[in-house]
């Protein structure tokens, strides 16, 4: 029974990783850009929520709702004024610029909030659990997982049911031809990064509610997100969820065997998938 | 004996079949021209022969050896050289260095051993005065010449030329033809895709017509050009 519990906890943890990964996947899918500062943006989101909670006394969920438009604008501006200028055939500029951004952001957070670990205030809701037969499930992990599923459904609706989604897909297929059809790729990219940062805010909320955080944990979140994206197959949102679940389950099983092996087990699962399916589980045909 | 033989070679991109069961032989030492309208699959056929693309079906033999699954790099080492339709120079390297890459790797020799050969190719292709110029600064004619020179530097037994005369003036074209004739006279087998028909016809001994990825005619150039069907398909006008 303990194993069933471990696996279910792992699946729910996978929801959090899928939330980390969804923004990365969205941005890569549309503009083939890998943002190495993605993990640090998540941590920054958590601090923004913390700031709203402590300064305005908002409950965390409301604070996250307030943070979303702020983060959208930030993402939009980041893409419009910085990252768009790095896009091109050469892979070096976007990599090095986002890497520089990652280091700068991490240290800006350190300078502002110190290296002490923090936590968003817990409430009855965040510590509650429900009993499903013999297994006790935390409300928080359940909410995280449900949010991940909702985010992915919402993204799929956006992509396949709206005019903006059509423009996203067209620009992703062929930005030059899209511009011939009256679409401004630079704006599409900026909106996409803005949306990615909305998802980052949701991930940031659960990151802060679930455990302690400090300015240095960004890179590890980037790595989990990256592993989920690769396992799922580039550009597949449901694949990303599955990728998150695989990392989550591997980590909880690893931790059950030996607490020191938690992170390592996740990485090994990733390498195994890479060995067997180099293009991930659900690769997009035309990449 | 044929140096190259294709048997039912096919290639598709998604739903689009660009090479459709192509079969033909090229005898050792012959010059074969390939014509066909834009989009007929000429460059794809070249890429299949050089290994830049892998065939979906059929087989390709070079000097009797099955090379269907052999990489572009190895095919170069066995003696297949090519030029690209859109010149693909190594832009940051000089003209001489472009040849040096080809000669040292394509023939697996040291720089010192190939130096004079490269200089010789540069003289024959009239690029010697541009030897120390970065290839990115060359004019169109010079880029086309460099394509030819770089392929020559690998000392191929079979040379594939992809629209090497396109976009050149009449005088430039004549000079290039002379160079190609000279290469052919040395016994190199040539396959040449060209829209500039008079250039092609002054060199090749046989002509192959491609349409929709299919070989629809192969034979004596005059007879092929005289065929009404070919004229209609190729030029779209009754001449």
């Amino acid at each position: 029974m303990i194993w069933v519990d471990t696996i279910i906890q792992g699946i729910l943890l996978g929801g959090l990783y899928a939330l980390f990964a969804a923004g990365l996947s969205l941005v890569f899918g549309i503009m083939r850009l890998v943002n190495l500062a993605h993990g640090d943006l998540i941590v920054m989101g958590t601090y923004l929520i913390l700031l709203l909670v402590t300064l305005l006394g908002l409950p965390p969920f409301l604070a996250a709702a307030v943070a979303m438009p702020v983060m959208f604008c930030l993402g939009w501006a980041l893409q419009k004024f910085l990252l768009n200028r790095t896009l091109g055939d050469d892979i070096l500029p976007p990599l090095l610029v986002t890497f520089g951004l990652s280091i700068a952001l991490q240290n800006a957070l350190l300078e502002t909030f110190s290296a002490d670990s923090q936590r968003l205030p817990t409430s009855a809701l965040t510590t509650a659990s429900v009993q499903a037969g013999p297994i006790s499930l935390g409300v928080m992990p359940l909410l995280t997982f449900a949010s991940a599923v909702l985010v992915i459904i919402a993204l799929n609706q956006l992509f396949y049911r709206t005019e903006l989604g059509r423009a996203f897909r067209a620009t992703s297929d062929d930005a030059t031809t899209a511009s011939l059809m009256g679409i401004k790729p630079a704006n599409i990219f900026a909106i996409a990064t803005g949306i990615a940062l909305i998802i980052v805010t949701i991930a940031a909320l659960y990151l802060g509610l679930r455990a302690n955080f400090d300015p240095n944990i960004g890179p590890a979140r980037l790595i989990y997100a990256f592993e989920a994206v690769i396992i799922g197959g580039l550009g597949s949102l449901w694949g990303t969820l599955l990728g998150g679940i695989i990392i989550g389950v591997a980590q909880t099983i690893g931790a059950a065997v030996n607490p020191e092996w938690q992170i390592l087990a996740g990485h090994i699962a990733f390498l195994l998938v890479l060995l067997v399916r180099p293009r991930g589980l659900f690769p997009r045909a035309n990449d | 004996m044929s140096i190259l033989s294709l048997t039912s070679v096919s290639k598709s991109f998604g739903a689009l079949t660009v090479t459709d069961g192509a079969s033909f032989d090229v005898p050792q030492g012959q010059a074969l021209g390939i014509i066909g309208p834009n989009g007929a699959g000429k460059s794809t056929l070249f890429n299949l022969i050089t290994g830049n693309l892998r065939a979906d079906a059929g087989s390709i033999h070079f000097e009797g050896r099955d090379v269907t699954k052999v990489s572009a790099m190895e095919r170069c080492l066995t003696g297949i050289g090519r030029s690209f339709q859109i010149p693909q120079p190594f832009e940051k390297l000089t003209v001489y260095e472009n040849l040096l890459v080809a000669a040292t790797h394509g023939r697996n020799m040291s720089e010192a051993m190939v130096r004079d050969d490269c200089a010789d190719v540069l003289e024959r292709t009239e690029l010697i005065r541009r030897a120390n110029t970065p290839a990115g600064q060359l004019s169109l004619l010079e880029r086309k010449r460099l394509e030819l020179a770089r392929a020559m530097a690998t000392q191929p037994k079979l040379l594939l030329l992809d629209e090497i005369a396109g976009g050149l003036t009449e005088g430039e074209c004549q000079a290039l033809i002379a160079t190609i004739k000279d290469i052919h006279a040395q016994g190199v087998t040539i396959i040449w895709i060209e829209h500039v028909l008079h250039a092609l016809n002054s060199v090749v001994e046989r002509l192959l017509v491609l349409d929709f990825g299919k070989v629809i005619g192969l034979g004596d150039p005059d007879e092929i050009m005289a065929s009404r069907e070919v004229r209609e398909i190729y030029l779209g006008i009754d001449v």
């Binding site: 890998v34 190495l36 910085l82 200028r85 790095t86 070096l92 500029p93 976007p94 990599l95 090095l96 610029v97 890497f99 520089g100 280091i103 700068a104 952001l105 300078e111 890179p219 790595i223 990256f226 690769i230 020191e260 992170i263 990485h267 090994i268 390498l271 890479l274 060995l275 180099p278 | 050089t50 830049n52 572009a72 790099m73 170069c76 080492l77 690209f84 120079p89 190594f90 832009e91 940051k92 390297l93 000089t94 001489y96 260095e97 040096l100 890459v101 080809a102 040292t104 790797h105 394509g106 040291s110 720089e111 004079d116 200089a119 540069l122 010697i128 005065r129 120390n132 770089r150 690998t154």
Partner: protein, 351 residues
């Protein structure tokens, strides 16, 4: 008249003479400089080596790795391993550090080469994390908290006695001087080796693959093999540097030895600021980096923030870095690799 080829330029001739004088001065440095200077120079030289190898990977090979700390850490731990467990002398063990890095580079390449571009970058980072977590399980070397080199090993290191007697310094200072000289040898060998590689036909092939992969394959360049050569060479060199750095520190822990900031972020900044894709770039970069560090080290995170922002600005405004800016204006190259053909028909008229 026959043809000949040269890569020399007037500037490079002057540079090689100036370089020789500089090398002599650097060799002689311990005779008149204080211990602090020697330690600073050791830091500069080892960072320069790391930067040259990362530049070889990313600037010439197009392989942007963020996992160089795997090779630094592995090299360092291998050195501690053979010294502590087998009782070997630290000095020759530095070469074994390189071998250890080479050994883990093979599976690393096997996995990471399955990923393209940016994903290759994060893939190398993941593997570095895996190596760090595995090494932290190595209880005999202190597990997660790390360990020190035994005093007996550091005291009796090769050459330390000689230096102690010859220069009349104490044992600790003699060890620093030894480390400095080894770093100097490593840096010169690295620069010389990379310069040599770039001047061989393999170096030409690297440039050709960077310019046009398809065309390179079509003239017989084995692009896949070039990737392996560059990756393994760089892993070996980085491992040797890692071994040397931790031989001098004499104390190791997984978090420090596998630090992405210390061994990859700094190195990337050095190369980007100095100028990627040139041998001169990392040299300029490491000097700028050291100057910034001396100025700003007291400001802690402000320093790193400045570096991050500076790297972004350079990438946007002058992607070829400081040396690139200088070289474009003046045409000067200290390590020219362009082969100039002379003689024959070229000598008939002056160009």
């Amino acid at each position: 008249m026959a043809y000949s080829v040269t890569t020399q330029t007037p500037a490079s001739r002057i540079a090689s003479i100036a370089g020789l004088i500089l090398i002599v001065a650097l060799i002689a440095l311990p005779f008149f400089a204080g211990r602090g200077t020697i330690q600073d120079m050791f830091f500069i030289l080892t960072m320069l080596v790391l930067a040259q190898f990362w530049n070889l990977l990313a600037g010439y090979g197009g392989l942007v790795s963020i996992g160089q700390q795997a090779f630094v850490g592995m090299g360092a731990y291998a050195l501690f391993g053979v010294v502590i467990l087998w009782g070997l002398d630290p000095v020759p063990s530095i070469l074994l550090a390189g071998v250890a890095a080479l050994i883990i580079a093979v599976p690393t390449a096997f996995f990471a080469f399955r990923l393209n571009g940016a994903y290759f970058a994060i893939g190398t980072w993941v593997i570095a994390e895996v190596v760090r977590l595995l090494v932290a399980q190595w209880k005999t070397l202190g597990g997660g908290t790390g360990t020190s080199l035994p005093r007996s090993a550091t005291k009796d290191m090769w050459f330390v006695d000689l230096i102690q007697d010859g220069l009349g310094v104490r044992s600790a200072a003699a060890r620093d001087i030894l480390a400095y000289w080894l770093a100097l040898v490593l840096a010169l060998a690295t620069i010389g080796g990379i310069y040599w590689l770039l001047r061989t036909r393999r170096g030409l092939a690297l440039a050709a693959v960077r310019d046009n992969m398809e065309a390179a394959k079509s003239v017989g360049v084995d692009a896949a093999r070039m990737k392996w050569i560059v990756f393994l060479t760089s892993a070996f060199g980085t491992g040797v540097a890692g071994g040397l750095i931790y031989m001098q520190k004499a104390r190791i822990s997984p978090d420090a030895a596998f630090s992405v900031t210390d061994w990859t972020a700094y190195v990337i900044f050095i190369v980007v600021i100095g100028g990627i894709g040139t041998i001169e770039g990392p040299i300029i970069g490491v000097l700028v980096f050291f100057a910034l560090q001396s100025l700003l080290a007291d400001f802690g995170s402000w320093y790193l923030m400045t570096l991050g922002v500076l790297a972004i600005l350079i990438m946007l405004v002058a992607p070829r870095g400081l040396w690139g800016l200088f070289s474009e204006r003046t045409g000067i190259q200290l390590f020219p690799i362009r082969r100039t053909l002379r003689g024959g028909k070229l000598s008939e008229t002056k160009e």
